[in-house]
């Protein structure tokens, strides 16, 4: 099949190139339709129970999934004329921004305050007009600190910070709204500092950054690789053909992804860099072609010979790569699945190009030009020959050491494995979207500041559900809800809890002429019902709807968490379970979690288990391919060892350094499988061929380390250089991927070249038994 493809490409190069161009234009025409998706909720399919329940809770309690928080900090206290005036102006201006949900913007000027003054009940916004006198300011301060509902939500305990909560329509772009809000902020601070935080800002800023990084780093990675290729092979043609294969695979796979209607997510935004690195596989074809052309001097013959020689290794290394990526498809995390399939598809495109476009391009070259460029290349190679020769001799010395000191190297390897195991044991699985930004970024410092001063920027819901209507008016139920709130508030990362109980107690106090001793749950269902009705007579309907459902069968406890870490929510669930064990709810009512914090926790677990299962699926598939290629269980297993070793060390380091095991890291484990295995495939294949020819074990090993070893190192350096540019990204997942891919490639090349000779030497009896001499 492949042979026939090559024959066709050689016979009709122009047709092949023309077809490639037309198909590429077809896929390329889809690119302008690109959209991004950075909503963590979309990590799980729309059918997942967590997502469905979450949507249901948001609908039932009229909660907004996307809320920005504008923090305002003044070290002299925010209750002063200037700051209050600014808060009032900002709030009304923010309400005018399209996409902002006008009715539910919550701040000093809009939050309902239930008070009693001179025997007169009032449900009014806390701040109706900016106070002008010291007396009025003092009265506002008193109101703020007396009502526990305000504490840690719209006022910090030290009075120096407040916040305006800005819900936005699900269709609105958080970053655009955030940018418009930033434009409203006063130029002169005069002691006021402003911080814009919240999930939508992070998400949409991330989406915008993603485009920038993708547009910036893909070309830079391409340039770096092109320059490296130049230094390695000194051929413009080779670089051009390599880039053509890379570009075509990128355009086809991204075009297909967009065509099928998928948005680009953080993971798939990195696929161009991956495909560019994978496309370096074509280097083998060019290398072999130039070599053959020198020998036979006939273009057509050289192309056919080169393809016959490297066809099988190229096929297998691309197949293992594709399989590694495709095994990501079994995870339940949608963006990872799409990314895996897109890159797998792109890899197959590269494979197809290797057998069609690449030989076709070679056929179009005039033999005259070819002769010339080979001359130039040879001259240059001679000029640069000394260091390469030196390196080769260094590599053969390295080979000798590896062969002789096999046992020591193996022992050292075991020690490293043990240390890595200890590190892996300490791995902490955690996804924290805010940590996807650098520590000094605006998004992250705003989040940090708000979490330090107010209740927290991450939200969770605990929905209490009873089989009976009106259950949430029952004082016994309310007392348990209150108890649960107090128990949860003991957790250091729970900054605020709020429920219907807080309203009931406050109204009880206000009705009784603001007597603090009435700040408690009343003793009858009628009282609770009438208090809530009284409150609902003039409060914003959403005040009550956020915390109880229409039949009073469900209550919603709103939690603010000071951290986006999954651990914070895990602690909440543990404390909830412990409380409910000791205090069963009336009528067998249950508590069910929801909200973005809970979502992150679930997703977190999905990441771990999803990645583990796709990792093992990848391992199995790669092993099967290895067995098929080497036609031997032992050799297949042996080829796999350097990769396993690499992965163990990398994740050992992750555990030991305390870096969070998050989605990008988890995904890397699976996809590194297919890419890093290439070196061992090359090493073992070349060694066995050499050994079959010479039958001198030591000589064959040292030769393999020196010759194909050099190719392996060059390939690894090329890979690593391509990925290393991502270290300069503004978003941490890119840095993570850059560092990890570079180190995985370098490490696996080193382990392949150092450990394989030692292992082959050690297990020569078993391994070489069946080898033909």
């Amino acid at each position: 099949m492949l042979n026939r493809l090559v024959q066709f490409a050689i016979a009709r190069p122009k047709t092949v190139i023309g077809a490639a161009v037309i198909i590429t234009i077809l896929f390329g025409s889809q690119l302008p339709k690109i959209t991004t998706d950075t909503d963590p909720k979309h990590m799980l399919p729309i059918t997942s129970p967590v997502r469905q329940y979450n949507d249901q809770v948001e609908r039932e309690f009229e909660l907004h999934p996307d809320v920005l928080a504008l923090g305002i900090v003044n070290e002299r206290g925010v209750v002063n004329k200037q700051t209050l005036g600014r808060i009032a102006d900002l709030t009304s201006q923010i309400q005018r921004i399209p996409g902002v949900i006008v009715r539910d913007v919550t701040g000093f000027t809009t939050i309902d305050d239930v008070t009693v003054q001179g025997g007169e009940l009032a449900v009014r916004p806390l701040l109706e007009r900016v106070p002008q006198s010291e007396e009025e300011l003092a009265s506002l301060r008193r109101k703020l600190f007396e009502n526990p509902a305000f504490m840690n939500r719209i006022i910090s305990p030290d009075g120096k910070a407040t916040a305006i909560y800005i819900p936005i329509e699900p269709t609105a772009n958080g970053k655009e709204i955030a940018d418009r809000i930033r434009k409203l902020l006063p130029d002169r601070s005069d002691g006021d500092r402003f911080y814009l935080a919240g999930d939508p800002v992070a998400r949409d800023t991330f989406g915008a950054e993603m485009f920038r990084q993708m547009g910036l780093f893909s070309p830079i990675a391409g340039m770096v690789m092109a320059i490296a290729l130049w230094f390695m092979f000194r051929s413009v043609l080779l670089i051009a053909a390599n880039m053509a294969a890379a570009m075509i695979s990128i355009i086809w796979s991204m075009g297909l992804l967009i065509w099928l209607g998928y948005p680009v997510h953080i993971m798939s935004s990195m696929s161009p860099v991956f495909l560019m690195a994978i496309a370096t596989d074509t280097v083998h074809i060019f290398n072999e072609f130039f070599f053959r052309y020198r020998e036979v001097g006939k273009k057509k013959q050289a192309v056919a010979d080169a393809m016959a020689a490297v066809g099988t290794p190229v096929l297998y290394s691309d197949l293992t790569t594709a399989v590694g990526f495709a095994s990501l498809a079994i995870t339940s995390i949608i963006p990872v699945r799409i990314f895996g399939l897109a890159v797998a598809f792109g890899t197959l495109v590269i494979l197809l190009m290797s057998f069609t476009l690449v030989p076709a391009i070679l056929m179009l070259l005039s033999e005259k030009k070819l002769d010339k460029s080979i001359e130039v290349a040879d001259n240059k190679a001679i000029g640069a020959g000394a260091p390469i020769a030196g390196k080769a001799s260094f590599l053969s010395r390295l080979g000798e050491v590896c062969v002789r000191r096999g046992k020591i190297i193996a022992a050292l390897g075991c020690v490293l494995l043990v240390i890595s195991a200890a590190g892996i044991y300490r791995i902490r699985v955690n996804n924290n979207m805010v940590h996807w930004f650098k520590s000094n970024s605006a998004v992250r410092s705003a989040d940090r500041e708000m979490n330090q001063r107010l209740g927290g920027t991450s939200t969770a819901y605990l929905v209490v559900q009873s089989p009976n209507e009106n259950a949430m008016k029952d004082p016994a139920m309310l007392r348990e809800i209150e108890g649960l709130q107090r128990a949860l508030e003991k957790a250091p990362l729970v900054g605020k809890t709020f429920s219907v109980v807080d309203y009931v107690k406050w109204i009880n106090r206000v009705l009784h002429n603001d007597d603090p001793s009435f700040y408690r749950i009343p003793d009858s269902l009628e009282k609770v019902g009438q208090y809530l009705f009284l409150f609902g007579m003039s409060a914003k309907p959403s005040d009550l709807n956020n915390v109880v459902d229409y039949p009073f069968q469900k209550a919603n406890i709103i939690l603010q968490l000071k951290s986006w870490d999954a651990g914070a929510m895990k602690d909440v669930l543990a404390k909830t379970a412990a409380y409910l064990n000791a205090h069963p709810l009336p009528a067998g009512a249950t508590v069910k979690p929801a909200g973005i914090a809970y979502f992150n926790l679930v997703w977190n677990q999905e990441v771990l288990w999803g990645m583990l299962s796709s990792f093992f699926a990848g391992v199995a598939l790669v092993l099967i391919l290895l067995f098929a290629q080497t036609r031997s269980l032992l050799w297949g297993g042996l080829s796999f060892l350097p990769l396993l070793f690499t992965i163990a060390i990398i994740y050992g380091v992750v555990g030991l350094t305390g870096k969070d095991f998050d989605m990008p890291v988890a995904v890397l484990s699976t996809l590194s499988l297919g890419m890093a295995i290439d070196f061992a495939i090359h090493f073992v294949a070349r060694f066995r061929k050499r050994y079959g020819e010479s039958a001198d074990l030591q000589d064959a090993l040292i030769w393999t380390v020196a010759r194909p070893g050099k190719g392996i190192f060059l390939n690894a350096v090329l890979f690593a250089l391509g990925f290393s540019v991502m270290v300069f990204a503004d978003l941490t997942p890119y840095i993570t991927v850059g560092v990890f891919m570079a180190s995985i490639m370098l490490l696996s090349s080193v382990t392949s070249v150092i450990y394989l000779p030692g292992l082959i030497q050690l297990f020569r009896k078993q391994l070489l038994k069946g080898e033909k001499r």
Binding site: I97, I101, E120, A122, L511, S524
Partner: protein, 279 residues
């Protein structure tokens, strides 16, 4: 559309013959917006000397969940001024039965309000500054229930057009002080001066709430020794387009000029509702 046919039907049967000849002639096109709105307020909020109605409000969420409010309303117009007094007795939901609410309303200043909470046997005065806030959690505001100060908005007649088959004035009202809407359009029936439809636009200039009069009935009552017909909106809906929430209100047992006395509207009756009117 259905509602408008119904309106037309009812009106053609009962309203027109009973209306005084002078009123059937619609005023000329030069009529000012403010004048139309004044007539609207008279027709919608103050007909007769007094009024009694059973009111059923259904609060319906976007996904169809319902909450019920049912109450008895008494209204009395002060014959010597434009002041009005309202008495509300809540019947449902069950746990608030017996809660009462009283309003003394003055055209150009804040009204006085009292609430009685039976579970704790307390009468409290309630601040009236929240005229624009939701009435008992519904999509209607207090002002939607009892009328807004005419002078608080500038009114202008935009055009005249048919709504369904009724000839209407379309009046634009723009609040002079910032409030929850920046613009209101009212379709006012040229004959009855009842509002058939209202649209409220928010600060983003988007349509947020829509009022529709879904059914108009003529209630016949004694007036000055003869029978008079009072066109009354007996079914109305306020829909919030932003939340998808709506409130449907039905008036039943509507009666005018039943002889209510000023004395009923006092704190004493809040605790013990007048049995003659409220059973």
């Amino acid at each position: 559309m259905k509602a408008h046919y119904w309106i037309a039907f009812v009106l053609s049967l009962s309203l027109l013959p009973a209306t005084a000849p002078g009123e059937t002639q619609p005023p000329g096109p030069q009529i000012a917006g403010a004048e139309i709105m004044e007539k609207e307020q008279q027709a919608f909020y103050s007909q007769g000397k007094d009024m009694k109605a059973e009111i059923r409000m259904e609060l319906v969420t976007a996904d169809g969940k319902k909450r019920l409010r049912s109450l008895t309303m008494l209204r009395w117009n002060d014959p010597g001024s434009k002041d009005q007094k309202y008495f509300l007795y809540f019947r449902e939901p069950a746990d608030v039965r017996g809660m009462t609410f009283m309003v003394w309303k003055y055209p150009a200043r804040e009204s006085d309000r009292w609430i009685y909470v039976p579970a704790v046997d307390l009468v409290r005065r309630v601040a009236a500054r929240d005229a624009r806030s939701s009435f008992v959690g519904s999509d209607f505001t207090y002002e939607d229930i009892s009328g807004r100060n005419l002078a608080a908005d500038s009114h202008s007649l935009l055009r005249e057009e048919k709504l369904g088959d009724r000839d209407c004035y379309v009046v634009e009202s723009v609040p002079k002080e910032p409030t929850d809407y920046v613009r209101r359009l009212s379709w006012i029936d040229k004959i009855t001066f009842l509002p058939l439809k209202e649209e409220y636009y928010d600060v983003q200039k988007e349509l947020t709430r829509v009022f529709t009069a879904d059914r108009i009935e003529s209630i016949v009552a004694a007036a000055g020794g003869e029978q008079k017909s009072f066109p009354t909106v007996t079914r109305r809906t306020m829909k919030n387009l932003k939340t998808g929430h709506r409130t449907e209100v039905a008036f039943t047992a509507v009666a005018y000029n039943i002889g209510l006395q000023d004395a009923v509207f006092t704190e004493r009756y809040l605790r013990n509702p007048p049995e003659r009117w409220i059973k």
